[in-house]
Symmetry: C2
Subunit: 445 residues, 2 copies
């Protein structure tokens, strides 16, 4: 993309309404614009990151055999009356009447609707196990929406639901979700730690929430540093192998890691002192096993091998996709702006032309732009007629992980400069070598 | 995907509520399920087609330099009061009050919101031309929703908005949209004809709607057959070249083609008789040029080269993405089921195992499944323990364009059978040759 043809409305001033870093940086970098309290338009740069996160979530869910569908944003109140949650849910549920005065609502979650889909079409244990998920906009009518996309009213969420015959099967589904989530966050460049959690309004028997470590996080967290050394990487996982999946869960849940709500000072004290970390975290996902909480009242039953009708064992599993955009920024920025991890960056690299209008520099930039595009790096070329300082400041603010700087002096020696946004380190190399390096960096993105 | 691990809730009976073919077939093929009147869940097969259509729309818009963003589903009533449309819009607009009794609405279209985004960040003619678009769920509270996704209440639409300095620039944007739409529909396997249209509640100076030819279409259409011979194909188009773009528009709008509302019998009679066609069509998109209708009341102005503040020239351009799923089926089916064009099919080919459980047949199917997956064909393998007749009926109903049938008799001769869903013609060939053929068919998908 050429910047002169893009729509990147950068703000020079710090917006007064933004209380936290990610909100401020997303507004300044032209990623979002508030439409009304807690409701945002995702401008091109923000939408690109959001789409990238969606793609990672889809890939990791499907790798585990989970099946995507799409439920509507508006739901019928009747289903929620059936589960008993319509009256329980309180003022956070946006209640709507259509032109015929029928009660509807903007879905804050989808246990009822997915259970209805399930019960209408599945009747036998032979159709299990089954995990369905979608990524769809939700609404929670917060009293005081704030912190930008971190606590918006209209927000994008992945929610998945498993349907199983036995508790053991459902626990395997729970474990499968934990493993897919670990990898999902890892690919987004995050250190996200699963921690035991309360079940809240979803209900159920057990639950883990995932907390991204960030100094500005909303929750206090206490953990054994050993857990942040774990990585799943690109290893091959057979998601039908219960032992293999539960071993990963075991590994990730054994080191001490708790939010302040569930912190146990005595347990924490048993960890060697140099591994005891007190930090802060942002909740970016949660998984639940709740057995027959919805399947019983809503009569989602299957016939088992013995011919008996039994309610299915269920769980639900959510990732806050729009919230993650904010969380990634909270975890990865400096005083100049955002620092995107390579897995989620909106553009792979920025090209800065130091002398726009100079024939040789323009030609070198054009050729670099074409080569990087062809190499799958998806570059953003700053072809504005601006001074170098302004171009560098823009690149630093929007946080592309790599910058290629092209100027007459370097070109005379056949060189361009490749700079890492994270370390600030630069290297002079030929344009071809820069392309080759970036191609390799993004090869497995 | 293996069918035993998929969620494809096929209906044996014709659903009583479905009055038209696409609605009936989408329900029967397990593509959608009604959540409430005019609101559908997109089950996995339906969601896959819908996503594919979204992808084609994105690709063709971006090819023309149009920039994607994402506006929220809920909008503030204030913006609509500013344009004067809040009171005009009538009962089709779903009006909502939040917990603080603020007036909101579920967006039926986005002229106001995009104009607000534009005016808040663009101030100079130097930032033009600019075309922004999104693909987002909309709501129109139809009195009597019916015909499935063809006239739903919650529906997915692509809507794009151009901002230009002069009328000539805006006409070029209009033309650019017409050309992108022609190719979009073509890639979806449709014959869609642009026809002069009234502007309705969007307003404006001129407009074309696109009608897909289908015998069950809602509108009568009269056209010169010459227009259905035109194809854009994969030709390279320079969207900045006004002449080239307007020449394509000229070619596509010169032959007579009108809906019954605007039909002119005398003009029609001038076409040679063998080219005069009376048919039916389904509206699947519309483009508008409306000048300063929104920019003037909403004060979306830029400073021109002479330093004067002038309101921008605008247009809006929509494609009914969810409606298209129905339209494609109306245009392409037979009495056994859907016939997907290759450009939009949910799976590239079906594999039918004629003797599930037989070691050699199973092994051949598994190897075919792996090879087709690797070749990018994205096969659906019917690995259920069912008789051949049931498997064929399922494949015919869900309409994959190609079926590979694997049975012991064929395998003994080293052959499988490749069958076209459209023609019904079959050919015996080696599994390798079948893979090679399908790889080639989908190479440029």
């Amino acid at each position: 993309m050429r910047l002169t043809r893009y729509f990147l409305p950068i703000l020079r001033e710090n917006p007064a309404e933004a209380q936290i870093t990610s909100h401020r940086l997303m507004l300044r970098a032209g990623m979002i614009r508030q439409a009304q309290a807690g409701i945002y338009s995702w401008l091109p740069l923000g939408f690109k990151v959001l789409s990238r996160l969606e793609q990672i979530v889809h890939e990791e869910q499907q790798r585990a055999g989970h099946i995507p569908l799409l439920m509507p944003t508006l739901q019928s109140a009747d289903l929620w009356r059936e589960s008993g949650r319509y009256d329980d849910y309180g003022a956070e549920m946006l209640r709507i009447k259509d032109r015929h005065q029928r009660d509807m609502l903007y879905g804050p979650t989808n246990e009822e609707l997915i259970t209805d889909i399930f019960r209408s079409s599945v009747g036998s244990y032979k159709d299990l196990p089954l995990t369905l998920y979608h990524i769809q906009w939700k609404f929670r009518d917060e009293v005081r929406p704030r912190f930008g996309v971190m606590r918006g009213r209209e927000f994008l969420m992945k929610d998945g639901y498993n349907f199983d015959l036995t508790v053991e099967d459902a626990i395997h589904a729970y474990n499968r979700h934990m493993v897919t989530y670990i990898r999902t966050y890892e690919r987004m460049g995050l250190k996200a730690i699963p921690m035991k959690a309360d079940t809240g309004p979803i209900g159920g028997d057990h639950s883990h929430e995932f907390l991204v470590l960030a100094p500005t996080g909303e929750s206090g967290v206490f953990y054994d540093r050993a857990i942040t050394d774990l990585t799943l990487g690109d290893r091959d996982i057979d998601f039908t192998d219960r032992g293999a999946v539960s071993e990963i869960v075991e590994t990730w849940t054994t080191p001490y890691a708790r939010t302040d709500e569930r912190h146990d000072a005595d347990e924490f004290a048993k960890i060697p002192e140099d591994r005891r970390i007190e930090g802060r975290g942002i909740e970016v996902g949660q998984i639940f096993f709740f057995g027959t909480k919805y399947s019983e009242p809503m009569k989602a039953v299957v016939v088992n091998e013995a011919g008996e009708r039994v309610p299915v064992q269920m769980g639900s599993h959510g990732i806050g996709v729009s919230r993650l955009v904010g969380a990634i920024i909270e975890a990865s920025h400096d005083d100049k702006g955002i620092i995107w991890p390579e897995g989620v960056t909106p553009f792979g690299a920025g090209i800065v032309n130091l002398r726009q209008g100079d024939a040789a520099t323009d030609a070198a930039c054009e050729s670099l732009y074409a080569d990087l595009t062809k190499a799958g790096v998806d570059p953003l070329y700053d072809d504005r007629d601006e001074r170098a300082g302004a171009k560098f400041a823009t690149m630093d603010l929007i946080g592309l992980p790599w910058r290629v700087t092209v100027g007459p002096r370097g070109l005379a020696a056949g060189k361009v400069e490749l700079t890492s946004r994270r370390t600030g380190e630069s290297e002079e190399l030929s344009p071809e070598a820069a392309v080759a390096r970036l191609r390799e960096i993004y090869a497995n993105r």
